[in-house]
Symmetry: C2
Subunit: 225 residues, 2 copies
Amino acid sequence: MRGLYAIIDVETLDRRGLDPLRFAESVLEAGPAALQVRDKVGGARRALARLRSLAPLSARRGVPLFANDRPDLALLSGCDGVHVGQDDLPVALVRSLAAGRERKLRVGLSTHDEAQVKRALEEAPDYLALGPIFATSTKENASPVVGLDALARLAALVRAARPGLPIVAIGGIGMENAARVGEHADAAAVIAALLPEGNGADAWSRVTDRAAALHAAICGVRRAE
Amino acid sequence: MRGLYAIIDVETLDRRGLDPLRFAESVLEAGPAALQVRDKVGGARRALARLRSLAPLSARRGVPLFANDRPDLALLSGCDGVHVGQDDLPVALVRSLAAGRERKLRVGLSTHDEAQVKRALEEAPDYLALGPIFATSTKENASPVVGLDALARLAALVRAARPGLPIVAIGGIGMENAARVGEHADAAAVIAALLPEGNGADAWSRVTDRAAALHAAICGVRRAE
């Protein structure tokens, strides 16, 4: 996993009257490294319908699709994986729900400080998210800002312990800092910096351009070893 | 399923500083027909831990335990089933998550009016909940009150279509109306009328007494055919 890890925050899009599927399509067109859907407010039935619409679109582009929090929705919709937070189900239990099924679930885990990173290494997720790297507006009650220096230090710690485990930096990442993030992290999760200004075809096509630029900014920089 | 369907609303108990497990034990001691845990605010990890503590206690008393909304938590904790609402996952999909497992999931479905009851019959849940029968204080944004007359009419409709399908009445049910509810419904879901006044041993033992009295009030009345 290298490049842009795009997050579709349905609540934010709903509030602005923007169609989450249209947004996802615009982002997918840029070919990001991964796509995650955060969809916590409208009920599981609606969230499942949305993931089921998205799964074939993601698959066609070869972009892995992650549900947020809920392995049941991921399994029922054909997602590639689930992203869980510190209060969500443990990684091993998420995987156990897919036991006996043809398709396994990849599991990503959020961390916010060194202690959580160390515990996460024991949980052995398929990738590890760390943040917020910078101040962020899209998450209420966000943890304290981690900063670039701590990202560099914790990324080195993770690589020493689990070489090859992807690190996804998250929080306040946009064009102005994506390359610096990419020096340390494998991928950068972006929410706000991808949102369209308006609802016209132009606005959507600029979403694709911005996603492509962010992806290239991260991929274009050499990661520190 | 006949008698008291007790609901543990963790948010309400937390707000009053009452231990949900202690409450569940007090209710289980009365031997209700079923126990459901509503636990939507503290994260899935904590909700799962709670269900895992409760499952053996329920099993020992022979009381079926239902998780709310989330089949993943029900499967991982050894619950007997899941209760889903109109915005949650469809009954068939909940069941499909348990496919290939030794233990199936029983699925209950909430309905609030005749149209939903009719659709629910097609979904074929293991029981059907209907309410709010009376005004209720424990659910925000509750649907309009159904009333006893509509309960009688819809219960008859359900029995004609699916003889033997248990009907659980819910909403504003306490000692003053449990018997009248039991004339039409198989079980009565109770939240507020079970809550203890205080935290002492006396208060908990009164919870058991009240649960037993509610259970007896429903079981003691002859159901209309």
